[in-house]
């Protein structure tokens, strides 16, 4: 016997579209090129007194690549670090020290990556914890180790430099570089994880343009320091706006752009910071940029945490709503079983009649009977479909829907109950209502809930009446359910929508509470009052679909 082989789970890597070695080679080349480029750029910021750069983003590049693509890139990092060391320090630094410096860089990056993974760092920066992890582990392990290597090499190369001073400067430079490039690389290279479904490209472009314009103006060196210095803080509101409104990789990108322009300008002697001399100016600018990066990341993370909390709350409401639907379905099940049994009875009778017609050779009648049998079967299936549609809703999706389409399944679902209780149901829905944007299954739940409450309220009367009316207004639909029951006891009204505030026997009293939450999640309001003519009135609003577009 031959069976199809079970599909084997392929070892997963982020982009496995080409052969592994091509992929590795590509990433390695990218890493080497970028490491070398930022290394070159870093040497712009080298005051003559020390001979060491005051901003060193290369370690950050290494950490981001190894974190995202794995330890496989360590050899490439080794090559990149060797290239830089050889090119800039070979005359002064003896070979063993140079090698030691490269090894220390590798060790720092490997240790940093290990630490980030060990402590569950996520490159989405959706939690404050991710920000602190990057600063602590990146700063201590990666930058610390690389700075030690750098300072050791420098001290070995130049007698005039003391190790402790140099270490401090190297570490500052490394940490600053890391803060500038690591977030942007982590968020962009890990983009597969971070791409948001909804992106506002226009907003991102406008922010980017403003930021580059302001930074360009400040650091082009044409403005007097008295104006340029305060103006340099104008990037803060822009980056903060991005952190609150844009996906995190846009924010990190903008932050890096601002930092690169500021550093380059200052490094080439332009802009408000340049007048203080390279060392002081860069330290001062570094402090400002560090605050900028921190602001952006912390705001992004806080926003991520808020969004996660909101998502949890939404999920909770969805779960609660689903439980409510299932419980409603349980209460309706007697009526629905009857509703299902009717077509089944018809079906069985048609089948039995067909059998007898066949035995008697009455073919024409047989054909009719079979056609009717078929129709009954479909009717039974339709009843089942309604129940399932109401109970389902693992992911209540919002869609554009016309209110009558929402009402029809609700009335179908309640029909057995209405008939059994002999409740007269009036429905008045005007023609040509604007469409709404709603999760149908949840709005059906609200309607079922309100209508069933109304039906229950009229119990014991001989003229049980429930009325459902809809009014369309400019920006919202107003849906009203009234009954001719005894009304809501006056002292119940204030706490009517609180959970467990039931005065009915049987039922948890969650129905109205869930209904109000669902309506509010749709941007509407649910209110209750007693009518002067007697009976209760529940009313809720739903915003019409294109209201957002208009305001």
């Amino acid at each position: 016997m031959s069976t199809a082989p079970l599909p084997l789970a392929r070892p997963h890597s982020r982009t496995e579209t080409s052969a592994p070695w091509v992929w590795l080679a590509g990433r390695s080349v990218m890493l080497i090129a970028l490491y070398y480029a930022v290394g070159l750029w870093g040497f712009v910021f080298t005051p003559d007194a020390y001979g060491i750069p005051l901003v060193w983003p290369a370690t950050g590049v290494g950490l981001a690549f190894v974190y995202v693509y794995g330890y496989r890139l360590l050899p490439a990092l080794g090559i990149a670090a060797s290239l830089i060391t050889w090119q800039f320090t070979s005359p002064m630094m003896p070979l063993p020290e140079a090698l030691g410096s490269v090894v220390a860089t590798l060790a720092g990056v490997a240790l940093g990556t290990h630490g980030l993974r060990r402590f569950g760092f996520s490159a989405r920066f959706e939690r404050l914890r991710d920000v602190w992890l990057l600063l602590l582990i990146g700063g201590l392990a990666a930058s610390g180790s690389a700075a030690t290597a750098g300072a050791w090499g420098m001290a070995a190369g130049m007698e005039s430099l003391r190790f402790s001073n140099t270490w401090w400067l190297c570490w500052m430079a490394d940490l600053m570089g890391l803060m500038l490039v690591a977030p942007v690389l982590l968020t962009w290279l890990g983009a597969g994880l971070t791409r948001h479904a909804e992106q506002n490209h226009a907003r991102a472009a406008a922010l980017g343009f403003s930021l580059v314009a302001i930074a360009g103006l400040v650091y082009a060196g044409h403005l007097p320091t008295g104006i340029a210095m305060p103006l340099s803080y104008a990037v803060f509101p822009l980056v903060m706006l991005a952190a609150v409104r844009c996906p995190v990789h846009i924010t990190t990108g903008l932050t890096m752009a601002a930092g690169a322009i500021a550093l380059s300008g200052t490094g080439w002697g332009m802009g408000p910071f340049a007048e203080m001399g390279l060392e002081v100016s860069l330290l001062s600018l570094n402090a400002q940029l560090a605050l900028l990066v921190l602001t952006a990341l912390v705001l992004s993370a806080m926003r991520g945490e808020r969004e996660a909390a909101e998502a949890r709350a939404r999920q909770h409401l969805d779960d609660l709503a689903r439980a409510g639907r299932l419980s409603t379905l349980g209460e309706l099940s007697a009526g629905l079983a009857h509703e299902l049994n009717q077509p089944l009875c018809a079906l069985a009778s048609y089948a039995q009649a067909s059998k007898r017609l066949l035995e008697r050779g009455r073919m024409e009648e047989l054909k009719d009977a079979l056609a009717q049998l078929d129709a009954s079967a479909h009717r039974a299936a339709e009843t089942v479909r309604q129940m399932r549609a109401f109970a389902a809703g693992h992911s209540p999706e919002f869609s554009s829907i016309a209110l009558p389409d929402l009402l029809r399944p609700v009335l179908d679902l309640l029909r057995p109950e209405l008939r059994r209780g002999r409740v007269q149901m009036d429905v008045s829905v005007p023609n040509a209502l604007p469409r709404i944007k709603a999760a149908p299954v949840q709005m059906e739940q609200v309607l079922v809930n309100l209508l069933r409450n109304a039906m229950e309220a009229t119990e014991g009367r001989s003229d049980r009446q429930v009325r459902l009316s809809v009014q369309g207004e400019d920006t919202e639909l107003r849906i009203t359910v009234t009954d001719n029951g005894p009304g809501i006891p006056e002292h119940r009204l204030p706490a009517l929508f609180d959970p467990f505030a039931t005065w009915k026997s049987g039922g948890l009293g969650l129905g109205l509470s869930i209904s109000r939450s669902l309506v509010e999640a749709h941007g509407g309001h649910l209110t209750a009052r007693n009518r002067e003519a007697g009976g209760a009135e529940f009313q809720f609003t739903l915003p019409v679909e294109d209201r957002d577009a208009r305001t």
């Binding site: 079983a337 077509p343 089944l344 018809a346 009649a353 007898r356």
Partner: protein, 212 residues
């Protein structure tokens, strides 16, 4: 006397599909079927002279089947009633049977059970109607008796011998025998015990004890 009507099956169910399907099934067995959607229309259509049987759903839009059954009985519609029930209505159906319904069938039912039930109900109705007709005949004959013959009949039903009757009525034994002969002839009785059975079936004598 109303024109004699043919016995029919009166089906009452609120579901059009069920009405059509069950009617069709019964018609394949050559029953005459009339279907109604609610209690009101069947109440308007039948009375105590309607021959046939009723097939009632226990749940109807305007009235439950049990109430309908009571109203039918109150109008002395004596047709046998078979209840048909969906799930969960069994207690109600049992109550209905306790109140005099012939049977109940659970939906969806077996065709043989349905057809046998209907056949049985129609036969029962026919028998009841035949019994009722015979009784009316006996009542008619009873009215044709003279007062003297009535006295003799009542004395006979009390189990008194001719001699005692003659003494009570102050007539000869022979006269009593003549009255008795006439009375037997008028009532169409073949024997004394047949006479007693016929007379006791009538409303006037129904509660009279028959000693010995």
């Amino acid at each position: 006397m109303p024109a004699p009507r043919l016995p029919q099956v009166y089906l009452v169910d609120d579901d059009a599909d069920v009405r059509t399907a069950v009617s069709l099934l019964l018609k394949t067995e050559d029953f005459r079927v009339t279907a109604f959607a609610d209690a009101g229309s069947v109440l308007a259509a039948v009375d105590d002279t309607t021959p046939g049987c009723l097939l009632l759903d226990v749940r109807l839009p305007d009235m439950d089947g049990l109430t309908l059954h009571r109203q039918l009985k109150a109008r002395s519609v004596g047709m046998p009633v078979i209840f048909i029930t969906g799930h969960g209505d069994i207690p109600m159906a049992v109550r209905a049977v306790n109140e005099g319904a012939l049977d109940f069938l659970e939906k969806p039912f077996h065709d043989d059970a349905l057809i046998e039930g209907v056949r049985h109900a129609l036969a029962l109705d026919a028998a009841q109607r035949a019994g009722a007709a015979e009784m009316a005949e006996v009542e008619e004959r009873l009215t044709s008796l003279t007062p003297r013959e009535r006295q003799v009949l009542e004395a006979l039903l009390d189990g008194q011998p001719n001699k005692l009757i003659a003494r009570q009525l102050d007539v000869s034994v022979r006269t009593v025998e003549i009255h008795r002969g006439h009375l037997m002839q008028k009532m169409g009785a073949k024997s004394a015990s047949h006479l007693a059975r016929l007379a006791l079936a009538c409303a006037d004598y129904r509660d009279r004890l028959v000693p010995g």
